[in-house]
């Protein structure tokens, strides 16, 4: 079937090719005016698309004449500070072109996409284009800021406030349980896989490579949201696609832009924990309940009896340390950026270099990043051109553990470290000596020592580049070969010292640990495409392209762990005793063929159809697919789209309504992020003492295949009042089937599961967007609002059984008929007020300990008198009811004021940090709410008692810690002053001041309700107490030469 299709395609191409080339030139007259002021613009560059040799400039009042080969040619009009416009002639010889200033989005800018360029309004499908304008990108801090709040249905949640860590991005809900839910990233035509690395040896840290792309390099971001838009990327497009196009060069002029930014991030507000005067009575009560004898007590807690100030022991404990202050700081950051672009008639180039250095508010945290990018396009002869896009980045990070880790996590330690201890050892007079205070009775590392002596160094190199060659057969038909390389190296070195730090499990042999992780990743792609684009006549326009590509992917990870180096000065892996070494090598190959046809009829009806055929070494030989070639299964992924421009079109003019589009699309995309060896039955090496053996390690499923997304989209776009008001409405229905899940089997088969395709998830999403543009005199204002509601529902799972999974002792559940990844735990009822109450309940813990007054009472679902895992139930939903963003900007003369807000309503958060601060197991410091704890029989409170070692399991994951995480945030506010006055050597300049995360409105009790623990569906919504996003202020200056 595939072959047949291919030959049909060849025939069609040959027929179409007969139309080409018209020798006679036709003269076109026109004017170029400003969209807002309607004044003519001089010196604009006007050229003909596909024919770089023909170009002209507009005169003083904006008029121009140009000779074109056909009345269906497309003019390209560009001028610095304005959006480049592609203007199809549609058979007319006299035209009026409006140019829109950069930063004002009226939906008509030209978008450079990997296979073609097109006017935004002619995109057939559900796209969101962010086209910030050349100069404006320079004031963005990162790519997330550029995306934040602008794309309906796109959720962006920061992993934490650690600089350079990035955010979790999701478009369209949880579509997969065990494969990626990240959209595909395409940078200058090159697909970039495995964006998120969450296996860092630095606990609680995640690396999102998206953050390594310098936002200042970006010309535009296009988010492909439906199957018609994303379908061309086939088996990677299941979660949508984000296409990034970086800034290219110019013909003729040379521009040099230099920008400098300086910023300060303020330490986050402290969480209220007990001070020394509150902590001591609490500790005393805890020790009493623990029931240790007086002698041990005097020995372990000398400060209760020793009040002799001449004794250094007195000074060791006579402190009131604000540990949160000790481990945080106001952090500075700086950013430098140089961009050089230029070119001549035959070549264009752009060279960008950026350097960013940011300290974290947590001491010991820093990220410094160097980025460079070189884009070059050149024409060798009229038919042959070539180019390259190469970027290289190097990121160095110093990190600290955060989140779930407790032993060497300075932020967590700063909350629970006893306030009576001091950062430094004390002299007899109470003065600080130079040595760190060692962990004492509380058995907690010294947080300050952790920030200074624990080292977590991460080095990342990323080379992403492609070279391409293009041959133009004629004005309409082109072919291109592109070779791309994505090469990444990540090295992580970790050392935890002995000084001031408790060893692993308090085991002295583990008092110095070194870890090292090396990762090498290589993707090589080769792609060959053919594009045919032609305005056939004033009724029919066609854009067709097709091609094939090969992808060779290799991944290697090496990990080592050693302990007990001779001293804190010896930090290397080789300095200690080697405990663990392991390596992973994975490889896979893909190949695919694809074709796409866009057809426009009278600019009223737009039809699109395409298909992608894919094979991968990950697919099992017996995979159930419609097509097999040489007995190798092929994923057949078709899509189609239809847009009807009810109002508007080539030559229409309306007073009130400018345009009304209705569009619909249907398509199949896939997710091929399946384990590379799932198809094979494997034997692994297994030593018996020192005797080498092999054992069966996994049962292969030779039917393993991609996850399939069938998506349907319908939408309506309207613009009114000369494009000043735009309204968008989209509905998506995406059903993911053949979910990749571990299919549980009876253990008598020697395994408890195997990877299997079964189950369905449906995501229904409604999105609405409203954008308004207004101008009065020198005022221009713009407000964009968007809102999205996603309804996620699991339709089926294998054998109908729920899947429970999670991390760090916390579980989420996915079960039929419910959204994916709900919190799964115990339902809390109350705190037992009296012993009689506790006894009457007849309950005991899963460790067989009877409950007493002051313990939490949990619902005994199974009514067997024991609170154990059978009593777990759904206790919360991390999915928001709806979410969205607001962007607004205001310009007055030389001033611009931009603000971005985002909000989320109805998402619940499991506040794990709070559970640790309200039910301490040992001698940790606690939140001040613990002052209201249960103390004596009859107390009515919702804070449990001080029972030592949490024997009653009060801290277990329960509804007590599930909170409403709804929020409204101001993400950014930027005031820009544009120096428009021409200064001899300067083209333009800007001064700007930005503030980030200026406020959050939320009832949430933790730092920040915006929590994201990894990409996994089963770890969403858990707040382990990462560094929160903090207020940042930044000042910047850009000078253009």
């Amino acid at each position: 079937m595939k072959m047949k299709y291919r030959y049909t395609c060849v025939l069609a191409m040959m027929l179409l090719a007969c139309y080409s080339l018209d020798a006679q030139l036709i003269k076109i007259k026109g004017t170029v005016t400003d969209f807002l002021t309607s004044k003519g613009i001089s010196q604009t560059n006007i050229s003909v698309k596909g024919l770089a040799m023909i170009s002209t400039e507009s005169s003083g009042n904006g008029t121009f004449t140009i000779e074109v080969p056909s009345v269906y040619s497309v003019l390209i009009i560009s001028y610095p500070g304005y959006q480049t416009k592609e203007f199809p002639l549609y058979g007319k010889t006299s035209v009026a072109v409006q140019l829109v200033q950069e930063g004002i989005d009226v939906g008509e800018s030209t978008v450079r996409l990997p296979y073609y360029s097109i006017n935004q309004k002619d995109l057939n499908g559900s796209y969101t284009v962010i086209n910030p304008g050349y100069d404006k990108t320079i004031q963005y801090r990162d790519i997330y800021q550029m995306l934040q709040g602008k794309v309906p249905g796109l959720e962006i949640n920061s992993y934490s406030g650690v600089p350079g860590e990035g955010s979790k991005i999701n478009l369209g809900g949880a579509r997969s349980l065990y494969t990626t839910n990240e959209p595909l990233l395409v940078v200058d035509g090159l697909p970039v896989n495995n964006l998120v690395f969450d296996q860092s040896v630095v606990r609680g840290n995640i690396y999102n490579y998206l953050g390594d792309i310098n936002v200042k390099d970006i010309e535009s971001i296009t988010v492909l949201r439906d199957a018609a838009a994303a379908g061309i990327y086939g088996s990677r497009a299941a979660n949508g696609v984000i296409v990034i196009t970086t800034k290219g060069g110019t013909h003729g002029k040379t521009f040099l832009d230099v920008s400098v930014q300086q910023g300060i991030t303020l330490r986050q507000k402290s969480l209220p924990v007990m001070d020394a005067s509150q902590y001591l009575p609490y500790l005393s009560e805890k020790i009493n309940r623990q029931g240790i004898d007086q002698q041990t007590r005097n020995q372990q807690f000398p400060f209760f009896t020793n009040t002799d100030k001449t004794n250094s022991l007195y000074w060791t404990y006579a402190n009131n340390t604000d540990w949160q202050k000790q481990v945080t700081r106001n952090a500075f950051s700086k950013n430098y950026y140089v961009n050089l672009r230029g070119g001549d008639a035959t070549s264009k180039y752009s060279f960008n270099v950026g350097f960013d250095d940011a300290d974290g508010v947590g001491k010991g945290i820093n990220a410094s990043q160097f980025t460079s990018r070189f884009n070059l396009e050149f024409r060798i002869n009229p038919k042959f051109s070539a180019g390259t896009n190469i970027s290289f980045s190097r990121t160095l990070k110093a990190l600290m553990d955060q989140g779930y880790e407790e032993r060497v996590n300075p932020l967590y330690l700063s909350l629970v470290k006893s306030p009576i201890t001091a950062p430094y050892q004390k002299s007899d007079g109470g003065l600080d000596r130079e040595f760190f205070a060692q962990p004492t009775f509380d058995r907690l590392s010294n947080p300050l020592a952790v920030t200074q002596a624990v080292s977590n160094d991460v080095t990342n190199y990323w080379l992403l580049g492609n070279i391409y060659a293009q041959y133009d057969f004629n004005n309409s038909l082109k072919t291109r070969i592109r070779i791309g390389l994505d090469r990444r190296g990540l090295q992580e070195d970790r050392f935890t010292p002995s000084n001031g730090v408790v060893p692993v499990n308090y085991d002295l042999r583990y008092n110095r640990t070194s870890e090292e992780q090396l990762i090498n990743q290589r993707y090589l792609t080769l792609e060959h495409t053919i594009t045919y684009e032609k305005q056939l006549n004033n009724q029919n326009r066609i854009l067709a392209f097709g091609g094939y590509n090969f992808e060779i992917a290799r991944y290697a990870l090496n990990y080592g762990y050693s302990i007990g180096s001779p001293s804190d000065e010896f930090k290397g892996l080789g300095d200690g005793k080697r405990l663990v070494t392991k390596g992973i090598n994975e490889k896979y190959n893909n190949r695919s063929a694809f074709a796409n046809i866009d057809y426009a009829f009278r600019e009223k009806l737009f039809v699109k159809g395409g298909i992608r055929l894919e094979q991968s070494s990950k697919f099992g030989e017996n995979a159930n697919s419609g097509l097999k070639i040489n007995n190798v299964p092929v994923a057949v992924l078709p899509y189609m789209g239809l847009t009807w421009r009810v109002v508007g079109g080539a030559a229409e003019n309306h007073s009130f309504v400018d345009a009304v589009d209705v569009h619909t699309s249907w398509g199949i995309t896939a997710n091929q992020d399946i384990p590379v060896n799932a198809r094979y039955s494997l034997y692994e090496s297994k030593f018996y003492t020192n005797r080498p053996g092999i054992v069966p390690s996994s049962v292969g499923n030779n039917s393993i295949k991609w996850e399939t997304n069938k998506s349907y989209n319908a939408g309506l776009n309207m613009t009114f009042l000369n494009k000043l008001i735009g309204l968008r409405f989209d509905y998506f229905n995406v059903v993911t089937s053949d979910l990749l899940v571990p299919k549980a089997v009876d253990g008598m088969n020697g395994a408890s599961y195997y990877w299997y395709n079964s189950g369905k998830i449906r995501n229904n999403r409604i999105e609405m967007g409203l954008n308004t543009l207004g101008h009065a005199g020198n005022f221009i204002w713009k407000v964009d609002l968007n809102i999205a509601k996603n309804t996620n529902k699991i339709i089926s799972l294998p054998q109908g059984l729920p899947i429970i999974d999670g991390a760090y002792g916390y579980s989420s559940i996915s079960m039929q008929g419910k959204p994916a990844g709900l919190f799964y735990g115990y339902k809390g009822l109350r705190v037992f007020s009296t012993d009689a109450q506790a006894a009457a309940s007849g309950l005991m813990t899963d460790k067989g300990v009877p409950y007493v007054a002051g313990d939490y009472q949990f619902q005994d679902l199974k009514t067997d008198g024991v609170i154990n895992e059978s009593d777990r139930q759904i206790i919360g939903d991390p999915n928001p009811d709806f979410f969205g963003g607001i962007n607004s900007s205001l310009s007055y003369k030389n001033f611009d004021l931009d603000a971005t807000f985002s909000y989320s309503v109805g998402n619940e958060v499991m506040n794990v940090l709070r559970s640790k601060l309200e039910t301490g197991a040992g001698y940790e410091n606690q939140s001040i709410v613990v002052l209201n704890r249960w103390v004596t029989n009859g107390d009515k409170t919702n804070i449990p008692n001080t029972r030592f070692a949490d024997v009653a399991g009060n801290r277990r994951p329960s509804s007590f810690y599930v909170e409403d995480g709804s929020y409204f945030k101001m993400r950014s506010l930027t005031l820009t002053y544009n120096i428009k006055k021409r200064i001899s050597f300067m083209r333009s300049a800007q001064v700007y001041f930005s503030g980030y995360n200026l406020f959050t409105i939320s009832k949430y009790l933790g730092w920040d309700p915006e929590v994201a623990v990894g990409q996994n569906v089963f770890t969403r919504g858990y707040d382990f107490g990462n560094y929160p996003l903090a207020k940042t202020f930044m000042a910047g200056l850009r000078i253009g030469l």
């Binding site: 395609c9 060849v10 405990l579 692994e684 297994k686 003492t689 069966p696 009876d746």
Partner: protein, 564 residues
């Protein structure tokens, strides 16, 4: 141009169809694909080593089921909810330790190996002839039989599968078979394999290696145990009597004849308690017929040290029950001729010379010289440490070396060797067999032992513990009385070695007397809880683990056991 286009499309067609299959067929790295192994004689060796590697992870569950459920152990302060459930005899089907998957991983690996070994024999009959094939298959059959025996001991009725599984198409659901049916089948396997088990050489290095694998001694112990479980006591005796130290040709005769006066090598003189071995070479030479070895530096770990220790990574999850400590402390000792210590007893561990002769009463019964089994008790079986009492058997690799946090290999936290067939328990197994073929007096005698160079020393005499006597007032059969005494002695000799619960279940079943297990286990509970425990354990449903609920959920043929 049309020509150029044609070339391009021809190119695409070529690339997509001809280069084809190889490009999307990739050999995984770091693994061997099924079908790529079992080709050479070397593959046979690695496949069998691999099976032992799969035995290692089973120890945790064997220990929890075999020891922690029993009367000698209670939950320590570091027990998690799963261990607590087991220690408190209220295990639930959600407890992951009730999952038998790891045991079947070994069973399936055995099944695959049997098919694979035959394949090697077909492919390479020169280097891998029938003799080697038969030896290897016998070894694998014994490993599988051992695994099924553990499954039967822990879960009783379990699915019986002898097919290999190398692809998901072969995965199936099977109903559990009755334990006696399984025993019958694995006894047959073991009997078939017995002739092919090669004898051990006397090379001590070789011994260390061989005794950590299925060897002829181990296979005899296993077969005898299988017969014991099946109630074939005569077969069991015929199997075990061939094993040193029973290899006197007419030992059975001598036993029945009252062995006094027999001259020759003292049978047990060189078999001191393994845990009192004074050096490593002794430990490994001959006292352990079969043990599972571990090397923590290669990630081979069990939880025994972690669970029984309270520092250096130990979590102190289980501890000795008060009743076993009391039993050790109150055991009567034999007064020796040259007893000269203030402690009231004297034991010469060199065990030579005549100065250790016991002081005898007129009726020949030794005089009691104080109380307390201090050879097998404190310092060996358990060790007080501050407020805690540690189970010490796995905390020393050689006698007298306490764990020093600075000296020890960090891996030693979790790589204790685990004895499967050690002399003491095997000796008591022989007594049990002998008793049940009707030779109760002889069984009692070899358990008690006697002094001198001309008689066996027994597990009791070799540590100078006074002999056990029948109660003349008892109305119970002599066999049952001796079985009770064997249980009593085994608590001391084999405490904390992972077999107590299995022993209690076996004896209770033999006499269809639930009180033998219920009353014993109830003793570890406070008085207030004892009657509830007796009621629960009187119900035989609770003598074996439930099936792990997840397995029940996915296997329609595996109904959960009643009571769970």
């Amino acid at each position: 141009m049309i020509k150029q286009l044609l070339y391009i499309f021809l190119g695409i067609t070529l690339v997509m169809t001809i280069s084809c299959k190889k490009f999307v067929e990739i050999e995984p790295e770091g693994y061997i694909r099924d079908g790529q192994t079992f080709k050479t004689a070397d593959d046979a060796v690695t496949a069998i080593y691999g099976l032992y590697g799969l035995m290692q992870p089973l120890i945790d569950q064997i220990y929890l089921a075999g020891e922690v459920q029993g009367d000698l152990v209670v939950a320590g302060r570091g027990a998690d909810s799963y261990i607590s459930e087991i220690a408190q005899n209220r295990v639930t089907p959600n407890n992951p330790y009730t999952d038998y998957t790891k045991f079947y991983r070994l069973v399936i690996a055995c099944n695959n190996a049997i098919a694979g070994l035959k394949q090697i024999n077909r492919l390479d009959p020169v280097n891998y002839g029938n003799d080697r094939l038969n030896q290897n298959i016998a070894e694998v059959l014994y490993i599988r039989a051992w695994t099924y025996l553990q499954l039967v001991k822990i879960w009783e009725d379990v699915p019986f599968i002898t097919d290999n599984i190398t692809s998901v198409e072969q995965i199936k659901d099977i109903a559990p078979s009755k334990s006696n049916v399984i025993l019958g089948k694995i006894i047959k396997d073991a009997e078939d394999g017995a002739p092919f088990m090669l004898p051990l050489s006397s090379n001590s290095v070789d011994l260390k290696v061989k005794r950590s694998q299925m060897n002829p001694d181990a296979s005899r112990c296993l077969l005898a145990e299988l017969y014991l479980y099946a109630g074939s006591y005569v077969n069991a005796w015929e199997t075990i009597r061939n094993l040193a130290p029973y290899t006197y040709s007419n030992l059975l005769f001598k036993m029945t004849q009252n062995a006094g006066g027999e001259s020759g090598t003292p049978l047990f003189a060189q078999y001191p308690n393994v845990f009192t071995a004074t050096n490593n070479s002794q430990l490994f030479s001959s006292y352990w017929a079969f043990f599972i070895d571990f090397d923590g530096s290669k990630g081979q770990k069990n939880s025994l040290l972690k669970w029984t220790n309270n520092k250096n990574g130990g979590i102190y999850a289980i501890k000795p029950s008060p009743n076993i400590i009391k039993a050790f402390e109150t055991t009567p000792m034999i007064k020796m001729v040259f007893q000269n210590t203030s402690a009231g007893y004297y034991i010469d561990l060199t065990k030579n010379g005549s100065n250790i002769n016991p002081v005898l009463q007129a009726d020949g019964y030794p005089v009691i010289g104080g109380y307390g089994d201090y050879v097998r008790g404190p310092g060996v079986a358990y060790q007080p440490d501050g407020q805690d009492t540690l189970i010490f058997k796995f905390l020393l690799k050689t006698r007298g070396v306490s764990k020093n946090p600075y000296d020890n290999d960090p891996n030693s936290n979790d790589d204790a060797m685990f004895p499967i067939y050690r002399d003491g328990p095997v000796y008591l197994m022989a007594c049990e067999i002998l008793n049940n073929i009707g030779l109760s007096q002889q069984a009692l005698q070899i358990m008690n032992g006697a002094y001198g160079s001309d008689f066996t020393q027994g597990t009791r005499y070799r540590v100078r513990v006074a002999p056990l006597k029948l109660d003349p007032a008892s109305t119970e059969s002599k066999i049952k009385q001796v079985d009770r005494l064997i249980l009593e002695e085994k608590a001391l000799e084999a405490s904390f070695e992972g077999m107590r619960w299995f022993d209690l279940v076996r004896f209770a079943k033999r006499y269809n007397d639930p009180s033998m297990i219920a009353n014993a286990v109830a003793k570890k509970y406070p008085v207030s809880q004892q009657s509830a425990i007796i009621t629960r354990l009187t119900n035989k449903n609770y003598w074996s683990f439930p099936y792990f609920q997840r397995n029940v959920d996915v296997n329609k043929l595996l109904p959960q056991k009643p009571g769970y």
